[in-house]
Amino acid sequence: MLDHLPALQVIIPLISAPVCMLVTRASWAWLLATAVSIASFVMALLLAREVSVHGVLSYHLGGWVPPLGIEYRIDHLSAYVLIIVSATASITMLAARKSIEQEVSREKSGLFYSAYLLCLTGLLGIAATGDAFNIFVFLEISSLSSYALIAMGRDRRALTSAYQYLIMGTIGATFILIGVGLLYMLTGTLNILDLQQKIPGITGSRTLHAAFAFLTAGISLKLALFPLHLWLPNAYAYAPSMITVFLSATATKVSLYLLFRFFFGLFPPEVSFESFHLGRILLPLSIVAILTASFVAIFQDNIKRMLAYSSVAQIGYMTLGISLASKEGSIASMVYLLNHALIKGGLFLAMACIVFRINSVQLEDFAGLGRRMPWTMAAIVLLGLGLIGVPLTAGFISKWYVLSAAIEQGHWLGAVVVVGGSLLAILYIWKIIEQAYFRTPVKVALHTSAIREAPLAMLIPLWVLVAGNFYLGLNTSFSYNFASTAIHAIFP
């Protein structure tokens, strides 16, 4: 049983998806989806333990030996991402029942949960597989299901944003497919480990340059790296609240993992950064992403959209860490990945609580919420501090690592931008706080005492994330040690 864990991790959500579709009652479908999410979290923890005890796990699908057969390969990096994805999935699902009941019609909820499970399958699969073509397939499984999930939002703009995401996402995935095809043409293999050994010998080839370019563009599209982020703000703003929680903490994070896997694993780092100058592409884009997206976020009146722009900026921080091409920079961006998944997932979960009660995320409707929903608003304030990067929070730790990695490499501009981005974050978080605590509601409907605190089923997961934000801010041993072991395994 334990031997088959790498495959079970992916197969259990995959098989549960059609089962979920057949379940007629919404609460049973939710129960199944939750059970599967928690099971995948347990499996991810078991895998992580196996990896730290026995080293890299290699699973041969169907008994075919790699490089001919498909290999599932769990190293520290994969285990780390598997934990993040499955933990987010568990927390989202535990909080999701009431919110989904409100936002998705009853007869569609079975389909909704099965699309969610497929999305989970795809995301876990990307992290687990060691085969380049398999990555494309899982990427499309997760993307297709997330397009469908986003389109289930109540606003009609959910449809257009899902469509826009579909077009851009498919172009991105097709670019990745072209890149993988060109690599196969050159080397005759699709196994990542095998490619890693063959690529250094052919760095002069122009086809390899083309493959590298296609892969970079494709992954950047999926990652929403500036200026390819146009799909993200609308998709996050109009998706059902719980789907925003799930996708914001997983989809772009898994794409970041892909960036790592391809440019530190499949292409050895010295090829990516010295022969192909990946750093020179990523660094300016990251800096522009941090500054412009933070700036645009300040002027948003829809809070979900504001947080989505903030996500674009945070992706900039992560790619900034990678672009430094140093061990410290990569560890910083891996730690950032976890901490940001926690903080942004938490903030969007708080938005879900607010949507559940007042059915709006417009800034003006937040007036007086500090008194009406004290626990939710307190969570937003604490997580907001994390987003800004105030000491004691997880956000501080991740920004500190990026900052010190930038200074270590002598990138003063990068260091200044990291600090400047935080200052901009203060402005947009302050806008929420000011409105919620220091303004009285203008609309008559919101004056009534009908607005109550969000239900406990949503508040508890939210506060778990808040607690995590402070735990990882005080005790960095898990995030840092795991990330550094993962990076040391990759870096020579």
Binding site: L144, Y147, T170, L177, M185
Partner: protein, 119 residues
């Protein structure tokens, strides 16, 4: 030059045509058609690279000793399935957009959203 790489020239032309339609056309259905052309060009790319000179279809027989590489065909079967699903989902979205907005033209849709924002 062109003869030896005929397939690849076709791939590049198809790819650019499809890509151009996706980014330039404002009709949502035509965009999906463009996306299809774009994806199909990649299928042709994969199939072209699997051809081995003088090779026959990869079925074991006594008459042949050189076979074309079957792996890209298998990969593309999967990619075709992905492409079909994307098209189906895209068209379903367009149908719902048409029901919600009464049009499939992108500029008109954005116009309606802007009016909604102002009111």
């Amino acid at each position: 030059m062109i003869e030896g790489y005929f397939n690849y020239w076709v791939v590049i032309i198809l790819m650019m045509m499809g890509f151009y339609i996706v980014i330039s056309d404002s009709n949502l259905i035509k965009k999906i058609i463009g996306l299809n052309i774009f994806q199909t060009s990649v299928f042709v790319l994969f199939i072209s690279m699997s051809k081995v000179k003088g090779g026959t279809a990869p079925i074991l027989t006594d008459e042949a000793s050189v076979y074309s590489n079957p792996l890209p065909h298998v990969l593309i079967l999967t990619a075709i399935v992905v492409g079909v699903s994307t098209t189906a989902l895209g068209l379903a979205l367009v149908a719902k957009i048409h029901r919600a907005y009464g049009t499939v033209d992108e500029t008109l849709i954005h116009g309606q959203d802007d009016i909604q924002d102002e009111t």
